[in-house]
């Protein structure tokens, strides 16, 4: 065993103790919160609970640290842990797919880092070293890489991994494909308009507005006099002013929050190409580094909203089958490019997959407008009730009709699909547009689905299932003519089988020539 180069029975960094103390302290001190909030000093029982907890937890922290060590040999990484029941985990060097080094805020202060070893096989066989010094983290990476290179050199003739750009093994120069300036990040935040943030800030707004004494008086007045009477006593101008003011302040706050959050997550965003994978790093307070293994890349999604689309800015997400692979439970979506011109995104897609984005999409059947309108009609029933009761007029409901019609029409206009060069392109959505790019060779199963209502209109939906369908990101071709659906279904199936048979033939040919 190669002791000089490897790492042998090494403990974590001593500052890990400080880190764990900081992270567990809130849990221990939790009972004290009751005392503080209750303001009752006789609640000393809670303090005693805290002390007792501390009495048990703190030695545990130390023992856990003391009985934890890791070794890296030329064949495997061994992590030993456990005070009473010992555990020894062996991870084969060549199975380690990725080593991610992350730092959160506390890590950064203490100048330590968390190292995660991700493997290709079972999702549970992952090693976590929380935490080691930054230098050690780097060293671990180096050592594992060196051993892996050795291993790979041993078995020559293995299928070469996909390379982007030209990168030699000796040169560890970073091959940066894409990076974002602070200005870009702020601009991105300003144009995101995430509904989640809007909802959050509406909630914050309602919390804050409680502190304005006048507001509560008015609210009481409203409640006492009954909502209707209050509205009648105001003139139209005041009502609109109130409503507009409220809406605008909520929008403004959410806009600011969104910018701040975006800067926090995407500060110094960088996309680096390494051997067989793309690596992103980002974050202001806590740096997040994550890898996108190109072999496991399933589907690429280009996202935009109407405003960014107008300004020609798009976002590129990549969905991978995950290091766990197989069961799909580790499937994840990683943002490869948060904010870039379409030309840049097209360029990167071209480099990764050699795929040209189509300019035109085939439209789905216009009958989908009818289906969408009926569906939206059902959705708007509660809204219609609210309108009816607040305005006390039946005619106000007519307002809904053009809105529903327009929404249904837009839904149809912005849906499309195309199959070119062994890739499936599916476009959907107006407010949050998604263009999914799925390679035919990544298809797992294909489904053609038609509900009773679809069949009445001679429509069907084609669903394409890959190993990385993250929740809410399915790429289905919804509401196309039954005939077309059958055609696409058969065509995709045929293309996939052909593709696989060709690969198989190539493989056998290779082995034949080798023999």
């Amino acid at each position: 065993m190669n002791h000089e180069n490897g790492i042998w029975e090494k403990r974590l960094h001593p500052l890990t103790l400080v880190y764990r103390l900081i992270t567990t302290l809130p849990n221990i001190a939790f009972p004290i919160v009751f005392v503080l909030y209750g303001g009752n000093t006789e609640d000393w029982i809670y303090i005693i609970i805290s002390i007792l907890l501390g009495f048990f937890v703190l030695p545990g922290l130390f023992l856990n640290y003391y009985y934890f060590d890791y070794s890296i040999t030329d064949s495997e990484v061994i992590i030993r842990s456990g005070i009473f029941s010992k555990k020894e985990r062996h991870i084969k060097i060549e199975r380690i797919q990725n080593i991610s080094v992350t730092q959160n805020f506390i890590h950064k202060i203490l100048n330590i880092a968390k190292v995660q070893l991700e493997t290709a096989g079972d999702a549970t066989t992952e090693g976590v070293l929380d935490s080691v010094s930054k230098a050690d983290a780097h060293h671990i990476k180096e050592v594992v890489k060196a051993y892996q290179n050795e291993k790979e050199a041993e078995k020559t003739g293995e299928n070469a991994e996909l390379l982007i750009g030209n990168e030699s093994k000796e040169e560890e120069d970073e091959n940066v494909i894409f990076s974002m300036s602070l200005m870009d990040t702020i601009r991105y935040g300003a144009l995101r308009f995430r509904p989640v943030v809007l909802a959050a800030s509406a909630w914050i707004f309602s919390m804050v507005s409680q502190f304005s004494p006048k507001w509560t008086e008015q609210l009481e007045q409203i409640l006492e006099s009954g909502y209707k009477d209050y509205i009648k006593q105001l003139d139209v101008f005041m009502i609109t002013l109130y409503v507009l003011l409220g809406v605008f302040s909520i929008l403004f706050i959410s806009w600011l929050i969104d910018i701040l959050l975006t800067v926090n997550t995407y500060h110094k965003f960088k996309l680096v190409s390494e051997r067989g994978k793309l690596v992103t790093s980002q974050g202001l307070f806590s740096t997040r580094i994550s890898a996108i293994p190109l072999k496991k890349l399933q589907m690429m999604v280009i996202k935009s909203n109407p405003i960014t689309r107008k300004l020609n800015f798009f976002r590129l997400d990549m969905q991978t089958a995950g290091f766990g692979g197989g069961d799909g439970s580790k499937a994840k979506s990683e943002t490869a490019i948060p904010f870039a011109k379409i030309s840049q995104i097209k360029d990167i897609i071209q480099r990764i997959r050699g795929v040209e984005l189509p300019f035109e999409f085939n439209k789905v059947s216009p009958k989908t407008i009818r289906r969408a309108a009926i569906r939206y009609l059902f959705y708007s029933v509660p809204f219609g009730f609210a309108l009816y009761f607040s305005f006390d007029s039946f005619w106000i409901l007519l307002v809904l009709i053009p809105i529903i019609a327009f929404a249904a029409y837009i839904r149809y206009q912005y849906r499309g699909y195309n199959v070119i060069d062994d890739q499936i392109f599916v476009k959907q959505g107006f407010w949050f547009q998604k263009i999914s790019v799925i390679p035919i060779e990544k298809i797992q199963t294909l489904h053609k689905r038609s509900t009773y209502f679809q069949r009445r209109l001679d429509l069907a939906t084609v669903e394409i299932d890959t190993a990385a369908t993250v929740y809410g990101s399915d790429a289905s071709i919804i509401d196309i003519d039954e005939e077309v659906a059958t055609e696409i279904f058969d065509e995709l199936n045929r293309l996939f089988i052909e593709n696989k048979n060709m690969q198989k033939a190539e493989k056998t040919q290779q082995t034949n020539t080798e023999l």
């Binding site: 797992q444 009773y452 190993a467 369908t469």
Partner: protein, 156 residues
């Protein structure tokens, strides 16, 4: 295209009877504890379970036959094809090279009729496992070993 074993209709009938009885028990409890206390409740005691009984009865009589008549599968050269569904029709194909592993499942009702289900797992995340119910047990085993030959280790 192949059809399932006709005995599967009986299996489904038992499932539906079981489900109807279960729903009847729940509605009976709801009726007894909640609705019978309401003054304005317009129906007599036992109305909801009766309704469930009638609807469930119709469903149990009509549906298994429809379901059976609409259930087909076929082992093609390179892929497994399924066609099924009464109200929502679903056609699926699972290429053999995508099959990760195949289970044979048999519950107590199926065992009564000597039937079993073939569960086919792929790495797909949405319609992840395809199930072919109502196959004679020996035939399911035959299919399993046949499909196993095709399944090869293949990267996602």
């Amino acid at each position: 295209m192949m059809q399932l074993n006709p005995d599967v209709k009986s299996v489904w009938i038992i499932y539906y009877i079981r489900r109807t009885l279960f729903l009847m028990a729940i509605t009976l409890a709801v009726d007894y504890f909640i609705f019978s206390d309401l003054e304005k409740w317009p129906f007599f005691f036992g109305f909801l379970p009766l309704l469930i009984f009638i609807l469930g009865g119709i469903y149990t009589i009509v549906f298994p036959k429809l379901k059976y008549n609409n259930w087909f599968f076929e082992l093609k050269d390179d892929e497994l094809q399924l066609k099924r569904g009464v109200i929502t029709k679903i056609d699926s194909t699972a290429p053999y090279c995508r099959i990760q592993h195949i289970d044979i499942a048999q519950n107590i009702v199926e065992r009564m009729f000597g039937l079993s289900s073939l569960v086919i797992y792929t790495a797909g995340t949405k319609g992840a496992d395809l199930v072919i119910p109502g196959l004679p047990h020996y035939y399911a085993q035959e299919l399993q070993s046949k499909l196993k030959e095709y399944t090869i280790e293949d990267a996602v």
